[in-house]
């Protein structure tokens, strides 16, 4: 999604002189095309994420649409209060882009694992929160939301190849995208781990279990009506997110089930335990937390039998 982001941003900057990019000394081999295309609107602010957001706030007040870019933990969590008191409080079009949500920086360790960014961002009602499932959906989202008036948080992945089969780059703000329609259970997935969820649904289908799959990229505003309609039709929902189960997608679906008084049972697949010092690759960490296609399919089989 990084290449999709930079490609989209160059196109937007070509069209609109207000678009600018600020990076916190990250993005090697990613952001250079933007810097080459629009050198006067590219700023590496150094290793200083709070200032990056503060400067973006001042730029936005002066009429610009600044994007800030760093690894998701540093983009979202280090300057969180600057985001809150800056673009959110002032209702300014700053775009916070965090790359590598979840375990994408696997072996880099816990400091680089963004497992609560969606939760803290979703807590802010004035912030649009977007977590695309693949690079095609990310590109659509960047083009759909670039000039909305308020601030936006994008949680993007590093993968520029994998796609969710059947998603075809679809994205609508405030909507969920259905990519499978089965009625035995509803999978609801967010972010690149949606590819695992889609593979699990397809594997279940081959075994005679037909499940639906809703992709939620528009975390905020949330696709309440879409999800409520799909949840009301099924007795089991399984949420899939590379994120702590508290506060993220699983919590969002739990809120909809509770507030709409739906009878659907909910199983939240995500991270439930704190970091313990052991790390490894993304594949290993997904296995550890039950987020591979095999583990997700097994969870569905178990819960459907329960």
């Amino acid at each position: 999604m990084r290449a999709a982001f930079v490609r989209a941003l160059i196109e937007l900057a070509d069209r609109d002189p207000r678009v600018a990019l600020l990076v916190g000394d990250l993005g090697y081999t990613v952001v250079e095309p933007f810097a080459d295309a629009h050198p006067k609107r590219f700023f590496n602010v150094g290793v200083a994420e709070q200032n990056m957001v503060g400067v973006a706030t001042g730029l936005a007040e002066g009429g610009f649409i600044p994007y800030t870019y760093s690894i998701a933990t540093f983009a979202a969590l280090r300057p969180y209060e600057f985001i809150r008191n800056g673009p959110i409080l002032h209702r300014l079009p700053v775009r916070i882009v965090g790359v590598g949500g979840g375990f994408e920086y696997g072996a880099a360790g816990a400091s680089h694992h963004a497992l609560e960014d969606v939760a803290v961002m979703r807590a802010q009602p004035a912030l649009t929160v977007i977590a695309p499932a693949d690079h095609r959906q990310a590109e659509t989202a960047f083009h759909a939301l670039w000039d909305v008036p308020g601030p936006t948080y994008y949680r993007i992945g590093k993968d520029d190849n994998g796609v969710v089969d059947g998603l075809d780059g679809r994205f609508r703000v405030g909507r969920a995208e259905m990519v499978r329609d089965g009625m035995d259970a509803l999978f609801v997935a967010m972010g690149p781990v949606s590819i695992e969820a889609q593979a699990a649904v397809d594997e279940l289908g081959r075994a005679g279990r037909r499940c639906g799959l809703a992709i939620v990229a528009s975390v905020s505003p949330p696709p309440v009506e879409d999800l409520a309609a799909e949840l009301a039709r099924r007795s089991l929902a399984i949420t899939v997110e590379e994120h702590f189960v508290n506060g993220g997608l699983g919590s969002l679906v739990a809120e909809i089930i509770a507030e709409r008084r739906l009878g659907c049972r909910l199983v939240r697949c995500g991270v439930r335990v704190p970091a313990d010092g052991l790390t490894g690759g993304q594949r290993y960490l997904r296995e550890l937390h039950g987020l591979t296609r095999e583990a997700l399919a097994a969870t569905a089989v178990r819960e459907l039998a329960a």
């Binding site: 602010v45 503060g54 001042g58 730029l59 002066g62 002032h90």
Partner: protein
């Protein structure tokens, strides 16, 4: 106060201090000493320095009161400029008021909301950068407290502004030497503060912060079209103008009693108003 032709200068420090005292007493809130500390700085800025004919004009100079807890001084100036009326001023700290202890940008004349220390200078740097990128000559001012220089984020912005040579950025540091729980020299030493700003690449001058003419001269002498960003280290007295508040930690938060209020008003009358700079 009142000039030879009988007109009141509502942007003189005397009126700003009086408004601070009146409103903090009426609302029974503190932060009085911090606001009194910058009354002369605010008077100089809003009386003579800032180029703001209309607070809605995109080309106006920007000001961010990074030490947001001194918002009463800012409200007094906006009142003096006629941008907020008597009735609105009297809502200070009331329910459904735009005038809280810290300033909110939804109030006409307030460019940016503040209240969390260490945030303002980075926004000001962005505002100055926006002006440069837009080819606009407007200036950006930020008023910082000295204790705000404790914040690492302040120095992130100091480095950024110097690196990008944001010459239209002017910072005034209110060097009253106090913070919430003690004197800055005892809590976290800032000395030598002017050397630190200079070492970071800023054009730094030290000025008597209650001398409006000196403040106006210093800022008027800055080259805001090229070169380094500028900082005025303004030597001030916390609680300026009220003898029992001056230099006293208690008055960071404390509200006034009736007797204290009467004495404060009387002392403000004695102090009166400094004259506008005749140099500009």
């Amino acid at each position: 106060m009142i000039d030879a032709s009988g007109h009141a200068d509502h942007l003189c420090a005397y009126f700003i201090r009086r408004t601070i005292l009146e409103q903090s007493k009426r609302a029974h809130v503190g932060h009085i000493g911090s606001a009194l500390s910058i009354a002369d700085i605010i008077a100089a800025l809003y009386g003579e320095i800032l180029d703001i004919s209309d607070p809605d004009d995109p080309g106006r100079d920007r000001l961010i009161l990074s030490k947001g807890h001194a918002a009463l001084a800012l409200y007094a100036a906006l009142h003096g400029r006629g941008w907020i009326d008597d009735a609105t001023l009297a809502t200070f700290c009331g329910d459904a008021s735009l005038l809280g202890v810290h300033p909110e940008h939804d109030l006409r004349g307030v460019d940016f909301s503040t209240g969390s220390l260490g945030h303002g200078l980075s926004i000001a740097a962005g505002a100055a950068l926006a002006a440069r990128l837009s080819g606009v000559a407007r200036r950006t001012f930020a008023i910082l407290s000295d204790a705000e220089c404790d914040e690492g984020s302040t120095w992130e912005a100091v480095m950024f502004a110097a690196h990008h040579r944001l010459s239209s950025l002017i910072v005034v540091v209110d060097m009253n030497g106090q913070q919430a729980l003690g004197y800055t020299k005892d809590v976290l030493s800032l000395a030598p503060l002017i050397d630190r700003w200079r070492a970071f690449g800023w054009d730094a001058v030290e000025v008597e912060g209650h001398d409006r003419a000196a403040l106006t001269r210093a800022i008027g002498g800055f080259d805001t079209s090229s070169g380094s960003p500028h900082v005025v280290l303004a030597r001030t007295t916390f609680g300026r103008g009220v003898s029992y508040m001056e230099g006293k930690i208690k008055w960071h938060y404390w509200p006034m009693s009736d007797d204290e209020y009467r004495q404060a008003l009387a002392e403000n009358e004695e102090l009166g108003c400094e004259q506008r700079s005749s140099a500009l």
